[in-house]
């Protein structure tokens, strides 16, 4: 067993530990009269500000360029990243982020383009949006697309708004107020439905982890507007009854919204359009690798079936011969309106298209297959020491274990995750989906080599053996080798300190 970490972690004078350097907030190192940007003071200026000129100080600290560089580089080294190691966060899809995408997004013709400049001067940008649309529509087998949603949850709003508009056109917007959502769904699904005044109605998955046709049939009625189903679902399983479910929903007068967060398992392999889907968002930052950037920006274009296409939001693209036109106003048509200023996350469109063109249709299918292959490889390599909640069966791009293998060890799922940090891994997703006790959802993605997967397996097996041997302190005191040990989240929430102040 290791000694208590206090024996070695506080021994330096500076608080630094070699390459792990401490860095105070900018407010403790900057000064309001320092600046790292040289700007010429205007020669003479007669302000036209009315009486609204700021008088008092703001308090913003400034850093010279070297100080800024050091501050942010030091901070960066306190982060884990996909570039530095396996990041098996199930449901989040941490795959390799090609730098070509960054390079292309920074071309002046894309980065230095104003959303409201004359469309005649931005035909290349509109062509890029058209090309991305073509790919996304072909890959999904759908009819129409809204590029503007800013992230997955925004896409959910977009899809549900189109559904409500279609219901309104049928005169049923007031009577159909229920949205069926499985217990395993992402939290955004019920949150999006509730925001628009729908009542979420929970449907239970079967013992095999997927939703049955019967469960849906039982929950359907004249009050149901739609079903929201994630496929592959958050347990890493393909909803194999999906076609029958879609048929039932349609027969009952409802629409099928598919949460496309896990499209990366089937891109190029199967098409949601063939499954009866009416609307689905695509997380460009997951499936098409526009980077996560520490939690955003996301990008959540929505594809629509023919039935919902007329209700898609503005703006949308129209081709008029050689010219592309972005339609920015509803013009009295059936479009449900505008979701955001301007045209969506154009910078992520560039990155996603660069990623897509690099892979091609063949490469995208191969990436999906490799992701599924790698998840199953981990599953069989760990199934004798971990426990699968839905029995020993194939999974899709992510494999779900539960914590029953830790029973009696005194090690919780959280402890186990923290011990992985000491081993140099970002933990998998834990405690999600909620339907499985002590869930551990592992998504290796297609970006890992076999060597990397084998090392991960060996590490996991060692950790599990250690837990079973009763070496609990390796877990309960973890992490010891991270920039910080466990943080007091209770204190943070009881007395929130959300901004720096001089104390």
């Amino acid at each position: 067993m290791l000694d208590h970490p206090k024996d070695f972690s506080f021994e330096t004078f500076s608080g630094n530990r070699g390459l792990d350097q401490e860095e105070p907030p900018i407010f403790e190192i900057g000064r309001t009269d320092t600046s790292g940007v040289d700007i010429e003071e205007p020669a003479h200026l007669e302000p036209r500000l009315g009486a609204l000129e700021r008088k008092g100080p703001i308090g913003l600290p400034g850093l010279s360029e070297p100080e800024a560089m050091r501050h942010y580089v030091r901070l960066s080294r306190k982060n884990y990243s996909i570039d530095a190691g396996l990041y098996p966060l199930g449901s989040c899809t941490m795959k390799h982020n090609p730098r070509l995408n960054e390079k292309i997004a920074r071309l002046a013709g894309f980065a230095d383009l104003h959303p409201l400049q004359p469309q005649s001067t931005a035909q290349g940008a509109l062509a890029l949006m058209e090309e991305l649309s073509r790919w996304l529509l072909t890959l999904t087998g759908m009819s129409a697309i809204a590029l503007s949603p800013k992230a997955g949850a925004h896409g959910e709003l977009c899809g549900l708004m189109a559904i409500e508009s279609a219901l309104a056109a049928r005169g049923e917007a007031q009577t159909r107020k229920v949205v069926l959502i499985p217990q395993s769904a992402h939290g955004t699904n019920p949150a999006s439905a509730a925001l628009l005044g729908f009542q979420p109605r929970v449907i239970e998955a079967g013992a095999d982890g997927v939703v049955s046709e019967e469960a849906v049939a039982k929950a359907l009625g004249p009050d149901v507007a739609a079903i929201m189903l994630t496929n592959p679902n958050t347990c890493g399983l393909f909803e194999r009854n999906i076609v029958a479910i879609a048929r039932r929903v349609h027969e009952a007068g409802g629409y099928f919204y598919c949460d496309g967060a896990n499209f990366n398992a089937i891109a190029g392999v199967a098409r949601p359009g063939d499954m009866g889907v009416d609307a689905m968002h695509l997380n460009l930052h997951k499936t098409f690798s526009t980077p996560h950037g520490g939690g955003g920006p996301g990008s959540g274009p929505v594809v629509f079936s023919e039935r919902l296409a007329p209700f898609a939001p503005v703006p949308f693209l129209l081709r008029e011969g050689e010219t592309l036109r972005l339609v920015e106003h509803g013009d009295g048509a059936q479009s449900f309106g505008r979701l955001t200023a301007f045209h969506g996350q154009f910078g992520t469109f560039v990155r996603a298209l660069a990623y897509i063109l690099s892979h091609g249709a063949d490469g995208l299918a191969q990436a999906s297959r490799d992701a599924v292959l790698s998840a199953n490889y981990l599953r069989v390599a760990l199934r004798d020491v971990m426990t699968q909640p839905f029995g020993d069966r194939l999974c899709m791009h992510e494999v779900l274990f539960d914590d029953s293998f830790l029973e009696g060890t005194g090690v919780s799922t959280l402890d186990f995750a923290k011990a992985m940090i000491d081993e140099g891994y970002h933990p998998m997703t834990i405690y999600f989906p909620l339907v499985v006790h002590g869930a551990m959802l592992i998504e290796p993605t297609e970006s890992e080599s076999k060597r990397s997967l084998d090392l991960f397996v060996a590490t996991m097996r060692d950790l599990i053996a250690s837990a079973k041997r009763g070496e609990t302190r390796r877990f309960t005191e973890a992490p010891r080798h991270a920039p910080r040990r466990r943080l007091d989240e209770t204190a943070a929430a009881r007395k929130p300190v959300l901004r720096w102040s001089a104390s």
Partner: protein, 446 residues
């Protein structure tokens, strides 16, 4: 395929380990009629060179701001971005990390967001700020929803100076959420009477300054009128740099301040990704949407940061969450924060003055152009011109002369009968020569 590390030998070995003969067997859970038999009718994989060639050709078909005298604003602004900003945000540890759910190995992200929250609170004169939202327009819609939760009323009054896209986003959300919107008529000269529209049924007034036509608005009397009726004032800005020179919304009595943060650190990028700034009073903390970072200590008593108060958020509250939002605009917030740290207070004030000076100079030069009238009594770096004839046609004609002149109001408000109005922005990147070219091109086109 250069991004896929598995070799065919690996794949075979792995399939054997799993016990599946081929990829079809791996997808056994997918009904066979759903599996594509033939590849889709789409191009095959391409090398870096090929992709670069293809996409560069698309980029070249656009007239970029860098290649022409440029005066377009109306919600997105061209500013100089220090080289170090773009370098730093491309650090692997910033670019390729996820939401900081494991705080022990995410202190970099958590600390810069804590710094960001503090900077936004200082800049807006508010007590607290969140870790950013999608963009200004969606932050604005979230502010209205939050005001409704706080006041338990459902009617928002929109100033006629609010960016029309923001008003449209509010209309969409309100329509579906069943809330009421009272949108005042487009108010080119900032003469609307908001106060008399406020009564005890109003949840909030949404008022932008500088407004979309560039006018500066005094929020104080409207804040007072709101508070008399138990309503909240939501202050909106689309040009964050203006806060370096103008009274802050907090100082003028705003209850919630939202805005677009693109101006600092983030390129125009044809409309996104940008970042929404969201700040409010401490007393509204529990109703605040979006991610919040808080300071705490670790097991050894060392200062650290965590995502906090997440019980408000969708992954816990589900249908009872304060918002359905899951992502923030993290990397854009980092760019904003680095740029603002580099500027510091002194730099921001100088930058703001340089912007104002540039706009003042252009307005003065335009005074000599016959038939063109500047409508603003006050402005920051943007103003509205009345031009003879159709402003959209004038913009096209000036673009043909290589000058990107501004946003015709008809592009934002096609049915308002304001076809002769042009919104023009001038920032620190414009040179005297650019402004001369603007005036010359306008004379030529008229």
């Amino acid at each position: 395929m250069r991004y896929l590390p598995l070799t065919d030998v690996d794949r075979t070995q792995m399939r054997e380990a799993i016990g599946v003969a081929d990829f079809a067997a791996l997808y056994a859970d997918v009904p066979s009629e759903l599996l594509l038999e033939a590849p889709l009718d789409l191009p095959r994989a391409k090398s870096e060179i090929e992709v670069e060639r293809l996409l560069s050709a698309m980029a070249k078909r656009n007239l970029s701001a860098a290649s022409a005298p440029f005066f377009i604003g109306a919600g997105a602004y061209r500013h100089h971005i220090p080289a170090s900003v773009d370098h730093l945000i491309q650090r692997s540890e910033f670019l390729t990390s996820y939401t900081p759910y494991q705080p022990e190995i995410s202190q970099g992200t958590l600390q810069y967001l804590f710094e960001f929250q503090t900077q936004v609170a200082m800049l807006t004169g508010m007590e607290i700020a969140n870790a950013s939202m999608y963009d200004g327009s969606t932050a604005c819609a979230e502010a209205a929803l939050m005001a409704h939760r706080i006041t338990k009323r459902r009617k928002a009054i929109l100033s006629g100076g609010l960016h029309p896209h923001y008003a449209d986003v509010l209309r969409t959300i309100s329509h579906f959420a069943g809330d009421e919107i009272v949108a005042l008529a487009p108010d080119v000269r900032a003469r609307e009477d908001i106060a008399s529209a406020i009564d005890d049924s109003v949840s909030c007034v949404i008022l932008q300054t500088p407004d979309v036509f560039g006018n500066l608005r005094d929020l104080a009397p409207i804040a007072e009128a709101c508070h008399r009726h138990g309503a909240l004032l939501v202050a909106v800005f689309t040009e964050a740099v203006s806060l370096g020179l103008l009274k802050s919304p907090g100082e003028m009595g705003a209850d919630i301040t939202v805005g677009e943060g693109q101006s600092l650190g983030n390129p125009l990028s044809f409309g996104g990704p940008y970042l929404g700034l969201f700040a409010t009073r401490q007393s509204h903390l529990r109703q605040t949407p979006g991610r919040l970072i808080g300071e705490t200590v670790d097991a050894d008593g060392r200062r650290g940061y965590v995502v906090t108060l997440s019980a408000r958020e969708q992954h816990i509250r589900r249908d009872k969450a304060t918002s359905n939002i899951c992502t923030n605009s993290n990397l854009c917030a980092l760019a904003f924060s680095i740029h603002l740290s580099l500027l510091g207070e002194a730099g921001l004030r100088r930058l703001a003055r340089a912007n104002h000076a540039s706009a003042v100079d252009l307005v003065d030069r335009l005074a000599s152009v016959a038939g063109v009238e500047t409508l603003n009594e006050s402005f920051f770096n943007e103003f509205t011109l009345r031009v003879p004839g159709d402003a959209a046609r004038l913009v096209e004609a000036m673009a043909e002369q290589g000058v990107l002149a501004g946003v015709p109001v008809s592009r934002l408000l096609p049915d308002a009968g304001l076809d002769d109005l042009l919104i023009v922005a001038s920032t620190e990147v414009d040179t005297v020569e650019d402004r001369e070219a603007f005036v010359a091109a306008m004379r030529g086109a008229l």
